[in-house]
Symmetry: C2
Subunit: 202 residues, 2 copies
């Protein structure tokens, strides 16, 4: 059984990560990571969708069992991403998607160097600005903070493997591009060190 | 205009290179390299298809003009691959395919380090053997020589970027895999060093 790939998808505000990853996960070849948290669900959040909502006792047990990639404590609550689930999915040959920010991605790259790091971007900075303002839901200072944050995030681009643009109405195309990346990575000589021996033995 | 990719496709006897490359070239996004030679066309060969058949005078002029990647002299005739045509195709954003053996591929990698090296393989060694014998046109010693040569060729696999298997009746699938590789390579951070600046400026 060929192992699946661990995909780390980052992207600034307005890049449409959830939409693109949601499209990928319509195919059972992909599964999206759902983090654990000890905080209570907010209105509209569903257990197993936004987060796996668990008790502090359960969280600490998972942490002790090494079932988490990392555990963070933030504003009185624990957060952690599911290592054990990732292992199960990858071993079954399916791909596991983690939607995380640039700092999380840099950590994951250390923990799991075979991960494929993808930066999802809006078509351009001005298009991103337009998207954020177009939502009409956020105060100006928050929009400016998000745009400033984008410039910081882009400093990490050289540590990523791929850039995928989520063009206007282009989420399906972005998802297709990620599928092409998965296919190419799986064909790479680097990921198939036993190819020669396997070929000759069969 | 985004530059095209130079694809080097190698593969042992029976890998079906010409079939797969032919399928790719049905799409104008791809063009296959046609080498120059000063030898006379053989029966069934067509100018511009198997080779560009030219005079020695013309060949030496092309060589002087640096219009060739390399020029070889073999059994009284010159052979050379078209650098100028490659440049034109790549500059127009289309991809240029060179079907060459492992030694040629190693040379091209030095001359043009941005090239993508793809090794096309039959499903397995035993399947390859079956294919070669199945042709029923070659003497046993030639088949054995081709199989022995395959083992030597596979020693170069670590210098390649990708392995693509041409499975039984799978030429279309292999062509599709090469298209996925092209798409992924074009999205790679490594091939897009100006992505951050372009993003912020637009």
């Amino acid at each position: 059984m060929e192992r699946g790939l661990l995909l780390i998808v980052s992207g600034p505000a307005g890049s449409g990560k959830s939409t693109v990853d949601g499209l990928l996960c319509q195919n059972p070849e992909f599964e999206r990571s759902v983090s654990y948290t000890t905080r209570a669900p907010r209105k509209g959040e569903e257990n197993g969708r936004e987060y796996n909502f668990i008790s502090e006792e359960e969280f600490l047990r998972l942490k002790d069992e090494n079932a988490l990639f990392e555990a963070n404590y933030f504003c009185g609550h624990y957060y952690g991403s599911p290592r054990r689930r990732a292992e199960e999915v990858l071993a079954s040959g399916r791909n596991f998607i983690m939607e995380i920010d640039v700092n999380g991605a840099m950590n994951m790259k250390k923990i799991y160097p075979e991960a494929v790091l993808i930066m999802l971007l809006p078509p351009s900075y001005s298009a991103q600005e337009k998207r954020l303002r177009g939502r009409g839901t956020e105060p100006e200072e928050k929009i400016l903070a998000r745009l400033a944050r984008t410039k910081e995030e882009l400093e990490f681009l050289p540590q990523y493997d791929y850039i995928v643009y989520n063009r206007e109405n282009g989420a399906a195309e972005a998802a297709e591009e990620i599928r092409a990346i998965v296919r190419a990575e799986k064909s790479s000589v680097r990921r198939n060190p036993a190819a020669k021996d396997d070929y000759l033995a069969n």
